[in-house]
Every structure is written in structure tokens, then in C-alpha cells.
């Protein structure tokens, strides 16, 4: 297939080698991302162990409704991404384009909800520093520092994902992918699922401490 031949980069011998190399390359990159986020998760674990009450008090001020909605949005976007990959595997160009667009749309929804949430958090004086709410102990500022930096870093990753998937959608609209070649779709999908997994952990750790009291 002429299409397949031109998609083969010159350092590779054949398409299966290129696909396997790209897939393993993306997994290696995702391992580095686990360790990158891991530094902050470790900070979270240590300080939650040391200041359980301060963390509980701090977490009460997170907006569970927004957090839960966002979790649902991202989980659904993982489904639509998986459906996009499936469409690519079956050379169904229009379905691929559609599912990519839906995934992008859901990513934008996530960012929108996050924006609303950040706005309310700031109104509630939950930005650590001189103007932090006075009714929380000082160690709660550590929780809120972690909240802003972890969700902020995650939001940056979502944004990058939205941009990448938009580019994929454009390429899909030009009919560049097929059963024989859809490596970029597959590895973008891996990245997007990873971003979902980070949020799967952020949700209970940030929103669901001591919710019952």
C-alpha cells in the first residue's frame, strides 16, 4: 500500500517495528510522567500522614460536585478515545473524526468546569498565603498548595492532550489513518488515558477526605 510505505520512517525496517517502538516509547514516557507527578503525590502522602486533621479540614472546602462531574467527564472521554482507536483500526474515517472531536469537546468541558471551580476556590480565599482563610490551621495551606499545583499540572496536561487530539482530528479529516497505519492515534490515546488515570487518583485524595462529617 503506497500510503503505508510513505508512513514508514527511514530508520525502521517495517511497520510492525515502527508501531512497537512507538508504543514502547510512549509507555516509557508515561513512566516518566508517573514519577513526575509522583513527587507531589509523595508530598501529599507524607503531609497527610503528619497532619490528618488539618488535611481533613482543608479538603472540606473542595467542591465535590465539580470534582465528581469532572471525574465522570474524563472517564467518558476515555471511552470516546477508545472508540476512536477502534474506528481507526477499522479504517472508519468519519467515525474516527467524530470520536476524536467528542473527546476534545469533553476535555474542554473538563477545563471549563475546572475554571469555574478555581474561580470559586479563589472567592473562598483558598489560595495559600497572606489572604488564606483564617478559620483553617496553617498546615491546611500545605493541602491547598498541593491542590493548586497538582490540579494545575494536571490541567496543563489536559490542555496539551486537547491540542494533540485536535491535531489528530485534523489529520484524520484528511484521511491519513487506516487499519495499516494509525500509530499516532494509538499513542495519543495512551497519553489521554494516562491523564485520566492521574485524575482517578486526584479525585479521592483531594475531594473525599472526611466527607462524612
Amino acid at each position: 500500500m503506497a500510503e503505508a510505505r510513505t508512513a514508514l520512517a527511514e530508520q525502521f525496517e517495517d511497520m510492525p517495528q515502527q508501531l512497537e517502538a512507538s508504543r514502547q516509547g510512549m509507555w516509557t514516557f508515561l513512566a516518566t510522567e508517573v514519577l513526575f507527578f509522583g513527587g507531589m503525590f509523595m508530598g501529599y502522602i507524607i503531609y497527610r500522614h503528619i497532619y490528618p486533621e488539618a488535611f481533613g479540614a482543608a479538603s472540606k472546602h473542595t467542591i465535590v460536585l465539580y470534582g465528581t462531574i469532572n471525574t465522570a467527564i474524563l472517564l467518558t472521554s476515555s471511552l470516546t478515545m477508545a472508540l476512536a482507536v477502534h474506528a481507526a483500526q477499522e479504517s472508519r474515517q468519519r467515525a474516527l473524526f467524530r470520536w476524536l472531536l467528542v473527546t476534545v469537546f469533553l476535555g474542554l468541558c473538563f477545563l471549563g468546569v475546572k475554571g469555574l471551580e478555581y474561580h470559586e476556590d479563589l472567592d473562598e480565599h483558598l489560595w495559600p498565603g497572606a489572604h488564606f482563610r483564617a478559620d483553617l490551621p496553617p498546615q491546611s495551606q500545605i493541602f491547598w498548595f498541593l491542590y493548586w499545583s497538582m490540579t494545575g499540572l494536571h490541567a496543563i496536561h489536559v490542555t496539551v492532550g486537547v491540542v494533540v487530539l485536535s491535531m489528530m482530528a485534523r489529520m484524520a479529516a484528511r484521511g491519513l489513518f487506516s487499519t495499516h497505519y494509525h500509530t499516532p492515534i494509538e499513542i495519543s490515546g495512551l497519553y489521554w488515558h494516562f491523564v485520566d488515570i492521574v485524575w482517578i487518583y486526584l479525585y479521592p485524595l483531594l475531594y473525599l477526605i472526611n466527607r462524612y462529617s
Binding site: 509523595m42 500545605i142 498541593l146
Partner: protein, 550 residues
Amino acid sequence: MSTMTVESFRPVAQRKPKTYLTEGGRTLSSWLLTTDHKRIGILYLYSIIVYFFIAAVAAALIRLELLTPQGDMVTSETYNKLFTLHGVLMVWFFLIPSIPAVLGNFVIPMMIGARDVAFPKLNLLSWYLFNAGGLLALYSIIVGGVDTGWTFYTPYSSSFSNWHVVTMAAGIFVAGFGTILTGLNFIITIHRMRAPGLRWHRMPLFLWSLYSTSVIMVLATPVLAMTLALMALERIWGLGLFDPKLGGDPVLFQHLFWFYSHPAVYIMILPGMGVVSELITCFARKQIFGYHYVAYSSVAIAILGFLVWGHHMFVTSQSVYAGFAFSFLSFMVAVPSGVKVFNWTMTLFRGSISFQTPMLYALGFIGLFVVGGLTGLFLASLAVDVHLSDTYFIVAHFHYIMVGGMVTAFMGGLHYWWPKISGRLYPERLGQIAALITYIGFNLTFFPQFVMGYLGMPRRYHAYPGEFQIYHILSSAGASILAVGYVLPLLYFLWSLKYGKRAPANPWNATGLEWQTTSPPPKHNFEETPVVTGEPYQYSPEAEEEMVHG
């Protein structure tokens, strides 16, 4: 025999075969936009030489200041900036890229019989990230410097010091991503791009070392990136995770920092060990003794190296139990290094040894690395470390490994592969002289530091009690000799590019796929993909002795 005479007999059409140096263009942009791993290796070589010399100047100023017990040449703040500059540039902008990004980039694809690495464009991006980070680091120095030490301990770095800490941290952050991409590239290249027949257990040991190094790069560097980012955020926003005012723990920074920085020292020695395996086998004309042990010891060092970071924190508020665990694990991590030394020694035994320049560096490595490694065991002993922490003993220990070990191995590898890289031979006699000068200068510089450290001379002090002056004088004298040893190769390598004898494809009669192609190689390395049918290092000292002596 001058090359001019030989050249003039060749018909014009055959005069200059196409090599990677000519194929693909000779313009500046053909180099700056190249995706050829060989050109990228050379780009890295130029870059690290620049950073090395800046850091060496800082070292020279440090050693000049330390000639007298009074702090009379520079202020204490300037002195702090000098050793910080020296540490940051040497660790991140010289040692970590040295063998992997220069020799690894150049040699790995050829050693596995491939046309290039798995992701050539990412390879070029790595070089740009590396230099972007370097520029940020240099900027931090120019605007006034950082005085925290290369370790950036909080709360000094996050709550005091100055804002240049942020730009310096940013520089290391960016360069770190270059390192991550290089490691990623090598891992995938070695997994997926080996020539037919090149099974894992037929790979030269250089590849096992670089593979292990790449795993460390990929798993450790992201944590450094996050740690420096957190420290910088704390500096910018005035609060964060390490601030005691909020109940934060400055020692948490150290846990996160050393989780990376200890494996980083293995990034800085494993490639050297890989080079030494190649050199010892070639210049003793002998199969490596215990191939599997040497191969797996690299993997063991990579894994165990992640479990010992607390030995940098014995004198902090780290718990005694954790200290006990880290001390025990630190003894364990010495074992695979010892295994390598035994195997190299047994390879030399009954080998047919010749003392060309690369071999001199390899032998120097073994001796100096043993000293550095054994003194590491002194430091792994918790009780002894309490006495020796923050003294010159530590400085001597890590310089024996990083300079006596890694830089020596880098020089050895550079000399060994120079004919392949440049197509020229360096002047052998000068090479041997420079190697000897380096060895003498190095020991004179750093051995007195063990003694004075043990006697109590603290590190990072620019003024000190008069009783240590004699050691400092010896050390500074050694440093000036060492400098000569490093400048000489720079000069004769440059000289050889124009006037050196043209190199044959295999000047050392070495085994290994990279020697089966021309010196310098063509752009795509091999005319056809080679097929590997045998074990590596199929040297035979007895057969060669017979050939030589009848």
C-alpha cells in the same frame, strides 16, 4: 608516509568517499538541523567542552583561593557561587551527557547494526533542550550566580539566597528533559533495532551499561524536575512544602532531591564501566571474563542504586531506623561494582596486554575507581559517616569516582573511537604522555583531600585553620598538572583533524559491528544490514601471541 603521497595516486572519482561528515551537506544548518545520530553526538561533544571549561575555570579559582588559609582572594559569597557553578555545570552539563550523549549517540546504532536511533528527531530535540537549559544556567551565573551549592537545600534555597536560584533550577529542569528523551531513545533503540542475530546476550557490554544508564535517566530525572519545580515555586510564591513556618519539612526536599541524585551518580559511572569493558577486552586481546556477571551487574547497579539515597542524609533529622536501612542497602550496592572489578582483572590475567592510550585510561580507571568505591564503603558506615560528613573526605571520594572514574573512562573511550568518529589517528605518543600526566595530576590533587578530610577539614569553606594548608598546596599543585593533562588532548585532537594519519576501518583490530564499517562511516552506517552470528569479544591472546612471536 604522508597521506598526501597516497592520495595523489588515487583517481579523482575515488578520492573522497562519502561519509557522514560530507553526505547530507556541510553547511551550518545541515548540522544544526541534522537527525543523524553521529552528527548529534559531535554537537554534544562541542557543547560539553564549553561547559567543562567554564566549570574548570571555577575549579581553578577555588584551588587558587584555597592555597592560603585566609579567605583573601574572594568573598565567602563569591566562593559559594564558585563551587555551586562548578558542581552544577560539571554534574548536569558535563558528566551526565558525556559518555551517553557523545559516545552513546555515536556508537550505539552502529554497535547494534542499525541505521540510526529509534527516534532521530527526538534526539535532536534533546540536544536543543540540553543547550536551552545550559543557557539558562549560564544566565543565572552572569546575573550574579547562585550560592546554595549544587544541592539547593531548603530552606536556604527556597526562603533565602536569591532569585537566580529560580533561573538556575529552570535551566536544570529543561536540560533534564533532554536527558529523559535521550534515555528513552536509547531504551527503545536497544530493544527494537538490533540487527538480526544480535540477541541480548550477544550484545557488547557497552550496550548493557548504556541500557541500564538509560533506565536510571528515565526513572530518576522526572523526580528531580518536580523537586526543583517545587523549590522554585516555594521561592516565587513564598510558601510551599518545605517551609517550617507552615509545618513543612526541609528534609523532605532532601528525600526528593537525593532520590534522583543518588541514581544520578550511577548515571555518571555506569557508562564509564561500559567503556572500560570494551577497552580491556580489546587491549588484552581476550574474551571478557564472566560476561553474564558483568552484564547483570549493570542492571543490579541501576536497580539497587535507587534504594540507597538516605546515605546522603545520615546527619539530618532522618530517623535512625531509616539510616540503618539505607546504610545496609548502600553496602549491598557496592557488590555489583566489585563484581565488575574482579571480572576486569580476570580478563587481564593471561591476556596479551598492550599499553596504547585507551588502555592506559582503562587501567587508570580500575585503580582509581577501586579507591573511590572503597572509600564509599567508609561513608556507607553510619557511624563513620557522622564524622566524615561535610568534610573533604566526601569531596575526595566523589572526585575519585567521577573524575578518576568517569572522566578517565570518557577520555579512554574518546581516544578509542576517535578514528571511527573523525577518520584520523591521534598522535599515540602524546596520548600516552597526556594519560600519564592526568593520572599523576589527579592523584596529587585528590589524595591529600582524603587525608585532610579525615583530619577534619570541612568542605565548602574558603578559609580554614593553618594546619591544613600543606594539603591544600599539594592539591592545588596537582590541579595545575591535571589541567595540562586535559588541555593536551583537546589540542592534539584538533590537530589530528587536519594533520592526523587517516584511519583504517579497524585500527585496533577490535571486534564489534562499529569496526566493520569505514572510518568515518557513511551516513547510514552500513551498506547492508549486518547479521550477527557469534559471541562478542572473540579475541584470542594465544593465537595472536603465536602470530607475533612464532
